[in-house]
């Protein structure tokens, strides 16, 4: 981790000491979230951006002033942050009274932050990061029309919920996800795949170096090469069921042309060339 980050700081795991209360909410892991509050002690920096362990930054499009693609907090014990993503100034000591008060709040750090910065929502609209900077991947948690409109612009994707990208396993050859079956209310596979691609290309080599010869669970699997070589060459993607010409035309008329596959312009161009000669 030291390879990737400029500074790594260990933080005591604060505990709200309210395990019973939290257990009632079935989110015992929220106790750990108070650790996030330590980030306010980072006074040697003038600006901080908190990235949850389960966020992914993508700056494919847009003039981004945020740092380059890194899956933030890839390894479990790194920076934690608040569940909304405010760039703030670190403030020094967080007093014990505040901590005790915080213990009473059932909603973990979100509650503390909200009461501490109670005027935050209204004081200065510019302190809010725009929607695209905090895009949750779960459909039910987000405002879906906004996701549809801005999804491709997303700069930070936040994988809320119990199932994180690393809970699945990734097949490197076919570039698909495997693992628990996803329920319908669940994430957009696009961003999951992006997370895994990034992990595989940038982080895994570093981890391999670190671990050296020791085996470790990376979550990636490679398909059995020996058995399926011939098949691999023929079809990289499993071929979709062949549609008749009439059916394909109907797909177009419903606005569902297969623009990444059969109906790509490359194929259309070939058709045009046939009569242009």
């Amino acid at each position: 981790m030291v390879l990737v980050y400029d500074e790594v700081r260990l933080v005591d795991v604060l505990d709200s000491g309210d395990a019973a209360h939290l257990a009632m909410m079935k989110r015992p892991d929220l106790g750990v979230t108070f650790t996030k509050l330590h980030c306010w002690t980072l006074t040697e920096y003038s600006k901080c951006v908190f990235m949850d362990a389960d966020t992914l930054m993508s700056y494919l499009r847009g003039k981004s002033s945020l740092p380059h693609q890194i899956p933030a907090g890839l390894i479990a014990s790194t920076l934690v942050c608040s569940s909304s993503v405010p760039p703030t100034r670190p403030m020094g000591n967080f007093s014990p009274p505040a901590q005790r008060m915080a213990a009473l709040m059932a909603s973990g750090d979100q509650g503390v932050l909200n009461s501490f910065f109670s005027n935050w929502a209204t004081a200065d609209i510019s302190k809010h990061l725009p929607f695209i900077y905090n895009l949750s991947s779960i459909a039910i948690y987000t405002y879906l029309p906004a996701f549809k409109q801005y999804g491709h612009d997303a700069k930070v994707v936040h994988f809320l919920g119990k199932l994180k990208p690393w809970d699945y396993s990734y097949d490197t050859t076919s570039k698909t996800l495997k693992g628990q079956s996803q329920d319908s209310s669940d994430m957009h596979p696009n961003f999951m795949l992006q997370w895994w691609e990034l992990f595989f290309s940038s982080v895994l080599p570093l981890m391999k170096e670190e671990y050296g010869d020791q085996p470790f669970h990376s979550g990636c699997t490679e398909s059995d090469i020996h058995a399926d070589v011939a098949q691999m060459h023929i079809s990289h993607h499993p071929p979709p069921p062949q549609l008749s010409s009439q059916e394909r035309k109907q797909k177009w008329e419903q606005g569902q042309a297969d623009y990444m596959g059969m109906d790509s312009f490359e194929n259309i161009e070939k058709k045009l060339d046939s009569f242009l000669k």
Partner: protein, 701 residues
């Protein structure tokens, strides 16, 4: 009071007239196909309408335009008549006999070109069959919900059918050339080619579908041109079918053109074909017989704007109107594409600079961009009412005073000045002044905006804090509606308004051509543009010191946003520091550029495109002989061998490199000589491939 142009007054003597009659127009038929023939939707209407005259001058009866038939348009813009050409009549009849209405007439614009208009509604019953034809020919389907695309298919099918009938009859003579504009007309091209109809085809795109979408979506467009997966981008935006039609037309055309170098770069990546020719958009420039009449018009219209300002800023008129400059930006309300975001940021920096320098110059900036409004706001109307009241008060006091003075002079006495205005007069005047008390600041907008908290211009004005305060040297007036000469607020139409302003600012991020800066230039008003605008690129190529000619080109392509902003601020600041005399001279120079924008010059690119298309479609018959194309040089008069190519020592080529006194002189002969050195036509006619330098033609001298 305009008179038609007299040839003796040409600002730019250096541009050669296109002398060669390169095409045998009597053996050809030229068709120009566009959705906007007699049907104004966007800018293409202006292009084809203004170009008609020179095309008719060249082609006469052999030039016919084609478009969709709408009853209202036909009644107001077209004079019905019979086609003079028998083959055309027969082709029309075969469509009519099969149930599709087709109309022929003369379009009542300058040039009066013939038009053939196809009634889409009457042919709509063929839609399913024609959808099948399109699918079988090119594997492109159209979604049910896209009315415009379906209409375009009907239009294209009718056009292709017409061309089939026509060429069947004509056989080999005359040959047919057809020029299609934009994807809406492109279906006709694709279908015609799929049926191997023997004709020369040209396709012009005025902007790419994807380009506009991607720019508006805040993509860092120009730096990522080669990284977009264009199929995917189109698919995700639900415009895949339109994109396919556009690309198909580009692919099938013999000759592909765009309207500027920057659009050519865009087309290369968005449409995967390098344009063969760049065909810029021109205007019909009308010159006055009095050489500097446009300066008088500037003065007159500036006065009208000053009247508006007196009213709008009542109670806060602590600045000198004689030292007030009027800047403006106008166009569709596309906040980032038109560069309004950059402009606002720049204005806040300009304000700071002017304040720090304790400048006595004030700048009033008008934003003319239509938005949703609920009519004029009360403050603005009140301002004009107060102004009018003051004027009336002054007039009535003047009347009384005048009478007394007259009486007194008749009696042979000088009146007692302390008694000439009595107490009533003072009361009236005091009351009038009291009415001009105003505790709020002059409003930044003239209308009640709907949803003003979400409005980008207003939000940014709030952010930068320019609210027309007394200390601000930059004042803002956002007029979210088209100008009209019957408006109670600002009774001027757009052209008058532009003439009355000092500087038009158009720092566009996406502008394939840019008629707005072009119109400013033709009226002699300096403008700011960018090197991402077609117009800006064009000026960069043609003029070596554009700032001196009132064309300020901001670099938005190769610099960061902050640097571009500073450059824009610097341009505006240096403009503010000019004296009135310097501004007058600059306007004279700007007006001299109008010949560059005239169709009389720019029409040659269209001619070249047609010639090229014929040479590709009928290679045996039409040759593209480069020697026949007049070398595109700016020098009419060959330079004597003894004179070096660089400017002579005694004559500065740059008007600005001179002392204070030189700037105040303006000599027609000197200016013409400077023009010859500064203004040149580029050597290449085609689009430059990126990264390569200009290669002169072999015979360029």
């Amino acid at each position: 009071m305009r008179l038609s142009r007299s040839l003796s007054i040409t600002s730019l003597n250096g541009l050669p007239l296109w002398e060669e009659e390169s095409l045998p127009v009597q053996d050809l038929l030229l068709f120009e196909v566009s959705w906007e023939v007699t049907n104004k939707v966007g800018g293409i209407y202006t292009v084809i309408q203004t170009k008609a005259k020179i095309t008719v001058d060249e082609w006469g009866e052999n030039y016919i335009m084609m478009g969709p038939y709408y009853e209202h348009n036909f009644k107001t813009q077209v004079e019905k008549c019979e086609p003079p050409n028998q083959a055309i009549k027969a082709a029309m009849d075969s469509l009519i006999n099969n149930g599709c209405q087709v109309h022929f007439g003369r379009w009542l614009i300058e040039g009066s070109p013939y038009v053939i208009l196809f009634d889409i509604g009457s042919a709509a019953w063929n839609l399913d069959r024609w959808k099948g034809d399109l699918w079988n020919a090119c594997s492109i389907g159209l979604p049910y919900h896209d009315r415009e695309a379906n209409d375009s298919l009907i239009f294209g099918s009718l056009v292709a059918w017409f061309f089939k009938e026509l060429t069947d009859q004509l056989q080999d003579k005359p040959n047919v050339v057809a020029h299609f504009h934009e994807w809406q007309a492109g279906t006709g091209l694709v279908l015609s080619r799929s049926r191997k109809i023997p004709m020369a085809t040209i396709f012009t795109t005025h902007a790419t579908l994807l380009g506009r979408y991607l720019c508006a979506g805040n993509a860092d467009f120009y730096n990522n041109l080669d990284k977009f997966n264009i199929d995917q981008e189109a698919g995700e935006r639900q415009i895949y079918h339109r994109y396919c039609l556009e690309r198909a037309a580009v692919h099938c055309a013999h000759v592909f053109t765009t309207v500027s170098q920057i659009t050519a770069v865009e087309a290369n990546h968005m449409l995967h074909r390098q344009p063969d020719v760049v065909t810029p958009n021109g205007l019909n420039v009308r010159k006055f017989s009095a050489m500097h009449e446009f300066q008088n018009l500037h003065s007159m219209n500036k006065g009208k704007i000053q009247e508006f300002v007196r009213g709008h800023f009542y109670g806060h008129l602590d600045f000198n109107l004689e030292k007030t400059l009027f800047f403006f930006i106008a166009g569709r309300y596309e906040f980032s594409n038109k560069g309004a975001d950059l402009f606002l940021e720049s204005l806040s920096r300009l304000n700071y600079l002017l304040r720090v320098h304790k400048s006595d110059v004030t700048v009033v900036v008008f934003f003319i961009m239509p938005a949703k409004t609920n009519n004029f706001n009360v403050e603005s109307l009140k301002g004009q009412a107060v102004r009018k009241q003051l004027w009336d008060t002054a007039q009535s006091v003047k009347e009384k005073f005048g009478k007394k003075l007259y009486e007194s002079l008749l009696r042979g006495e000088i009146p007692d000045m302390s008694k000439i205005l009595d107490r009533d007069d003072f009361t009236i005047m005091k009351r009038a002044i009291y009415a001009t008390q105003r505790h709020s600041l002059p409003p930044v907008t003239t209308h009640n905006m709907l949803d003003d908290s979400a409005d980008p211009i207003l939000s940014n004005i709030r952010r930068i804090g320019l609210f027309n305060a007394r200390n601000d040297r930059v004042k803002i007036v956002f007029h979210p509606e088209f100008l009209s000469s019957t408006s109670p607020l600002l009774p001027m139409d757009y052209e008058e308004f532009v003439r009355g302003c000092h500087l038009g600012v158009f720092p566009s991020y996406y502008e394939p051509w840019g008629y707005t800066p072009g119109e400013c230039t033709v009226m002699g008003i300096p403008s700011v543009t960018t090197n991402l605008s077609g117009f800006g690129c064009f000026m960069e190529e043609h003029v070596s010191e554009p700032s001196e000619y009132g064309i300020y080109i901001v670099d938005r392509r190769f610099r960061s946003a902050d640097e571009s902003c500073n450059q824009l601020t610097q341009f505006m600041f240096s403009f503010c520091q000019k004296s009135r005399r310097q501004r007058i001279i600059q306007r004279n120079r700007t007006e001299r550029l109008s010949d560059l924008l005239d169709w009389r010059y720019l029409g040659r690119f269209y001619m070249y495109a047609r010639h090229l298309a014929l040479s590709r479609s009928f290679p045996g018959k039409f040759k593209m002989d480069h020697l026949n194309i007049a070398p595109t040089q700016g020098f009419r008069y060959p330079r004597p061998a003894s004179v070096p190519p660089s400017p002579s020592a005694s004559l500065h080529s740059t008007p600005h490199h001179s002392d204070e006194e030189d700037d105040d002189t303006y000599d027609e002969e000197e200016e013409a000589e400077r023009d010859r050195q500064n203004i040149k036509a580029p050597f290449t006619l085609g689009a430059e491939p990126e990264g390569k330098s200009n290669q002169p033609l072999e015979n360029g001298n």
